[in-house]
Symmetry: C2
Subunit: 415 residues, 2 copies
């Protein structure tokens, strides 16, 4: 057995304990984790300072450095997040349908954990704790594999969380960190069939696609977001401009930010009069098709073919002119990542048709795509936003981290 | 584009029509399919007779030949099945939660089809129609890839179904058959990313494992059944014997048949006194561990290590002696396929503990494992029994063939 297989076997063994540990015990563990992270944050901050120093030395870009860096305020936020997860309702054990069949069998469908969830993520130390807390609350054992840049922070915080688990009498292997951050180990994790029930990659589109392609264990694809807003010829153009500005500029690095606006040609000139002053505030770069270029002039540059499938995660926006809603829908279904899509229109029938025909996790009428988020959707928290159709779609909260088990009470029935 | 890619693209295009076709139109199509299969069954029977003749020539075993062969009675049963599917409730369009958020956004979760479902199956002509009907009712486009032995039957019936679709104004590509039955084409189907949303293999364990290992499109594993019955020391032994006999002998070739019985050593001698006369009726072969052999004598043969993981699908039963329930549970979790598992006991606490601790799609107390079935569970029909935890677990009916889409009604909200 390799080290990772041993880790997988230990994780699997822990599932049988955690699956039936009960809400009170899991909440006790979450409280213990929050407490230990707060009390001993100096250790975590010191480990993180080493990571940050090494990353600086290696020439990491400042935006990445910022995401890697922990501060007492950020630690407080993370600790608060753990307490919030503890306060959420426990999805496990809920029987979501139960029936007595004509033969007297009583058949119930009970929510159970998925089992072992592996999470591959990049250099964000907060993910380590967020993901562990959500898995724990939903009765799932997690195997965490973070980026090498955060390995010191992750080792420290994983050890603190394991200590908290021990302190409440749960197996420490309910949470474990892959110690070796080589590509070979990540690859082995993607093939840990029999131990890993679900693998969730969290990070950029490149990571997610690579994992989905390579893995033999079941994968949930999350967070690939090439999102569109369609400005209809019957749109409230002021509202459209405000929504576009919000969806592009409120946080361009996230997956629910808009990457491409589709504008009906009959209202294009009027729309850009309203939208440009807003986008100018943030110096948004526009990459436009020839027809839009005629209106935008030197304010835009010509779009390349690759711009129609690009996830910029930056202050860049692709601009395309369309002749009507059906053209917009066909373009979205061909170029979107089935994440979040919006129409701006005053026309009731077009709104309904857009909701019906666009194939995506979240389809909006007259609202910003930025709302696709577990908190905004009322799930309390999220482990990611699924862009696949199997198992879960859209923001994944605790319920999306469960499976089911039919329990059947008999009295000697045979078939 | 290869022929299969073209077929995939045509299937994908059909999804946008079928997803919003509505219940009445889908039921009209199912009725048209039932009618055309009934009216023109002579064509289908003639094509099948050619398949059967060729299979005989090739030396196909008689059990397989029987499964391949259509008769007017079987056709009538298949046609009746299509009408039953038409009568089931339509899962599509149901909004299973809807909420007005504090910011006024109205967010609903709507059931939508998965999209394109590919089904790889063996030489059972009834599967072609059953699967197509369930997909159609749930708004899913299907690509069917049957075994080469049934290709003439399948070509005929697929063409009849496509004619029925055309007759009601739906795209014929809502149902299509892979014309080429080579392994290369099956392999290509497993990698038809971007066109195939879900792949469901239906057939023996070998087929299913091969598909799950090879495919890059999402797969739902179904029908691997190494099922156990544990006879507790506090069991009603007569009930245990009746249930074991039923679970092994009522239909040994199916996945919910039992393959291994675990017997508490304190009641083993008494239990076998009751069970053997029943199993003798069918001449069930017993493969036993050394301790059971002492009781069973020449009635059994020694079990090999491979017997503890064997899916016989035949009148063969593995027999193992255990010292208690926890040993039985550990053995089941190590050797089962997470399909159907049963305990026979009069002890309330053991019953509850077994239901909690055994990790399987269906866990029974005092009933036969043979009940794991969409019809028996009240789902109306099933496309297979999922033995994985992601997406669906246990019998998969129409609801399990759906995904969801969040629809959001706004009034200009930004975040």
């Amino acid at each position: 057995m390799t080290a990772l297989q041993q880790q997988g076997a230990a994780a699997k063994a822990a599932t049988y304990v955690l699956a039936t540990a009960g809400t009170a015990k899991k909440n006790e563990a979450l409280a213990a984790i929050a407490d230990i992270l707060a009390e001993r944050q100096a250790e975590w901050l010191a480990a993180n300072a080493e990571d940050v120093a090494a990353a600086k030395e290696a020439g990491m870009r400042s935006a990445m450095l910022d995401r890697l860096t922990l501060t007492p305020e950020r630690v407080a936020g993370i600790v608060d997040g753990v307490r919030q997860v503890a306060a959420l309702p426990d999805p496990i054990g809920k029987v979501d349908k139960m029936e007595t069949r004509p033969n007297g069998l009583i058949i119930g469908r009970r929510r159970v954990p998925l089992g072992v969830i592996a999470i591959i993520f990049e250099a964000r130390p907060n993910v380590t704790v967020d993901a562990a807390a959500l898995c724990l609350k939903s009765g799932n054992v997690c195997i965490l594999r973070g980026g090498k840049e955060a390995i010191r922070s992750n080792r420290c915080v994983a050890e603190l969380m394991r200590e908290a688990l021990r302190s409440v009498g749960l197996p420490e292997d309910c949470i474990s960190l892959v110690q070796d951050t080589s590509h070979e180990t990540a690859n082995e994790l993607m093939h840990l069939d029999g131990y890993v029930d679900v693998l969730i990659p969290r990070g950029g589109a490149g990571l997610i696609r690579a994992v989905a392609k390579e893995a033999s264990v079941p994968v949930i694809r999350t967070g690939e977001g090439v999102c569109h807003i369609y400005i209809d010829d019957e749109a409230d153009l002021d509202m459209g401009a405000r929504i576009l500005f919000n969806a592009k500029c409120s946080r361009p690095s996230v997956c629910n930010a808009v990457e491409c606006v589709l504008v009906h040609r009959d209202v294009a000139a009027d729309f850009w009069k309203r939208a440009l002053p807003l986008l100018d505030e943030k110096g948004v770069e526009l990459r436009a098709d020839p027809e839009a270029l005629e209106i935008l002039g030197t304010r835009a540059i010509p779009a390349a073919e690759s711009d129609w499938d690009a996830e910029y995660d930056d202050y860049i926006l692709a601009v395309r002119t369309v002749g009507g809603m059906d053209e917009a829908i066909a373009f979205i279904n061909a170029h979107g990542t089935q994440h979040s899509e919006a129409i701006i229109t005053k026309n009731y029938f077009k709104a309904q048709h857009f909701l019906d025909q666009v194939d995506a996790a979240a389809v909006y009428v007259n609202a910003s795509t930025r709302f696709t988020d577990g908190g905004e959707f009322g799930l309390g928290a999220e482990i990611g936003i699924s862009t696949q159709k199997m198992h879960a779609r859209g923001p994944m909260g605790l319920e999306e981290l469960t499976s089911c088990k039919y329990v059947i009470y008999g009295e000697g029935q045979v078939r």
